[in-house]
Amino acid sequence: MTTTGTEHASAPGREDAYQHRGLKRLTGRIAARMDRLRRWYRGLPWPQRALVLLLVAVAAYLLPYVGDIPLIGPQIVTVHTDWPSALFRMSYFVLLALGLNVVVGYAGLLDLGYVGFFAVGAYTVALLTSPDSVFGTKWVWLAAVPVAVAVAMVSGLILGWPTLRLRGDYLAIVTLGFAEIIRITADSTPGFLRGDRGFGGIPHPPGRNSDGTALFGVRDATPYFWLGLSVVILVILAVRNLDHSRVGRSWLAVREDEEAAEIMGVRTVKFKLWAFAIGAFVGGLGGVMFAGYQGFMNSSAFVLQFSILILAGVVMGGAGNMPGAILGGALVSYIPDRLTGINDPLFHNDLAQWRFLIFGVAIIVIMVFRPQGLIPSRRRAMELKDRAKEVAP
């Protein structure tokens, strides 16, 4: 069996090379704590695991109140941005990371244009609900949701089907093109997708508070966060179900050795298409929530950087496993937001201008010292290059 091309940090040579660097020690300590935590969790019997997860979920719903915790609270919450808004942003970033994880981490299909599905979901909602829309249908948000995710799924199949034979780099370029096509189409069709004029007046999700005001209003982002969190939990359960079934096995087999998988009877085409469809569905779901929260959207939200950012989050967190994708997605949203509003000591400038630099450095540091991601998949290695195995003639 050929050895893999990816380097694991457990390979002795690489570890020693960085032994004396202080940064290595820091990331190493964090990583070691995480590994210990994982081992403890995996050692628990099933009912206790469920309890732990339930507690974590409850804690997640209480996140909007973290700022009230004495001492550490103010250190955690974002300064410039409204904390619940930042939390909501984290929730749809996590949702996108989970969806991308299915495509990239599970099925091994390198997708550089994931924002495309997000855009399809958001634009479909806008077209169906906004008074600016050429359709003029003016539906309520909730009615547009199933249509939007269905359209997103179809777009996933449209992207997936012709790209099935493509490998690695070529697939990446085509998926990148897909996302850019959507954005450029948006900019080029002032009558239809309305470029940077965008759509306004997109209705919010339904619901009323006990005092009669709208539940999903414009002032408090907390209900949006709770909605986002609930969707994230549902997606986690769904993806977990798929992972622990023949679907997950087929995806993993396709990732490990696609040709051998097909020779063992795996319907590679079908499962790759499903991966795209599911990824697109989840991406569309993110777009739907984004549109419902913003009320206004234009093409500037769907730039290529966003795709790269989500991908960076997935890889940094640890592709191929859900805790990794969740952590990566959350960090990718949280770190830039957290740095906004802090003044640097030297020039007294808002660190917001520097945040992407700092954020970039953080990613580089993590990937150099922990290439398998903060939460490495127990048994899945992220393959960014296609492992093309030639059957010996």
């Binding site: 179900n241 079934s245 050795d257 998988a261 020779i263 063992m264 009877g265 499903w274 048994r379 003639p393």
Partner: protein, 296 residues
């Protein structure tokens, strides 16, 4: 297109039968005569298959047939086209001309997973397990070939999913026990010993429920004791009713277990028959050992 090289007059006619028509010595079991392409007992028929890669002719009008229940050996020097033949049979390559039939129905041009579902399974010369999956999971992928749980079915955890998971797991453990590695079921495939990996590949291929099992150099790198053990396993598999097609370099193993052989050289069939005949065939000897420089 290349002109066929003039061959020296052969003791065999076009179908591989001896011109003298004397009955050949019988092999370990069964009828030694070559199987005629339209023989109803034929399980696999490679019918005049040619496979070209650009200018290279990897298989040149190869013709042979396998009978149900026999252990058939495909031998020849390195580069003769044996693995290419396997690849053509399992849908990895598409023959430039000719046809391959399985149980009477043509399989040339079918997709790999369709061929597997029809009942053709294989192992690989250079072991292609799924390295990060456990031994059990590797075998379960094979069992999944015949499962019908759909993606929505798995998502919603319908009864079929639970049923197929349960039976699949049981069947996989049974297969691991059959090849003798059930104690390594939970181990990642890349951590298994070489011999265990070869056995796991066989278990995974058997999991797809084949009628024909193609083994590509299953004993490569084995010591004599391991080879004997593998021989016993191959015979045992045949005894369950599965036909076996074997590529192997170890002549003792081939002679000891195969009912019939076909010999390839440079993509062409140069001999066919029972091991005893093939071993003595001057063409075969020349192919493996070379011809003296001053031979006529």
């Amino acid at each position: 297109m290349s002109e066929p090289i003039q061959e020296p007059p052969s003791s065999r006619d076009a179908t591989g039968r001896h011109r003298t028509d004397e009955p050949a010595a019988t092999g370990p079991a069964g009828d030694p005569a070559p199987v005629h392409p339209t023989d109803p007992r034929a399980l696999l028929e490679v019918d005049d298959v040619t496979l070209r890669f650009g200018g290279v002719v990897a298989l040149d009008h190869v013709n042979f047939s396998l009978r149900q229940g026999e252990i058939f050996g495909l031998i020849g020097p390195n580069g003769a086209g044996k693995t290419t033949c396997f690849n053509a049979m399992t849908g990895v390559y598409r023959p430039t001309s000719g046809q391959i039939r399985f149980a009477g129905a043509p399989i040339t041009g079918l997709k790999k997973h369709q061929i597997t579902r029809l009942g053709v399974a294989r192992t690989f010369q250079n072991i292609r397990l799924f390295p990060e999956m456990t031994a059990l999971e590797n075998v379960m992928v094979g069992v999944d070939a015949h499962h019908k749980t759909s993606v929505p079915g798995a998502l919603l955890r319908l009864p079929r999913h639970w049923r197929e998971e349960r039976t699949g797991r049981a069947r996989s453990m049974e297969l691991l026990r059959y090849v003798g590695i059930e104690n390594r079921a939970g181990e990642a495939a890349r951590n298994l010993a070489y011999g265990e990996q070869r056995r796991l590949e066989i278990a995974r291929a058997l999991a797809t429920g084949p009628k024909l099992l193609c083994l590509d150099e299953p004993a490569a790198g084995f010591n004599p004791a391991e080879k004997d053990s593998l021989l016993a396993l191959i015979r045992s598999i045949r005894d369950t009713g599965i036909t076996i097609l074997l590529i192997e370099h170890d002549m003792r193993l081939v002679m000891g277990v195969c009912d019939r052989l076909v010999v390839l050289e440079f993509g062409r069939k140069i001999a066919e028959g029972v091991p005893a005949d093939v071993r003595d065939d001057p063409l075969v000897i020349a192919a493996y050992l070379g011809v003296p420089a001053d031979a006529a």
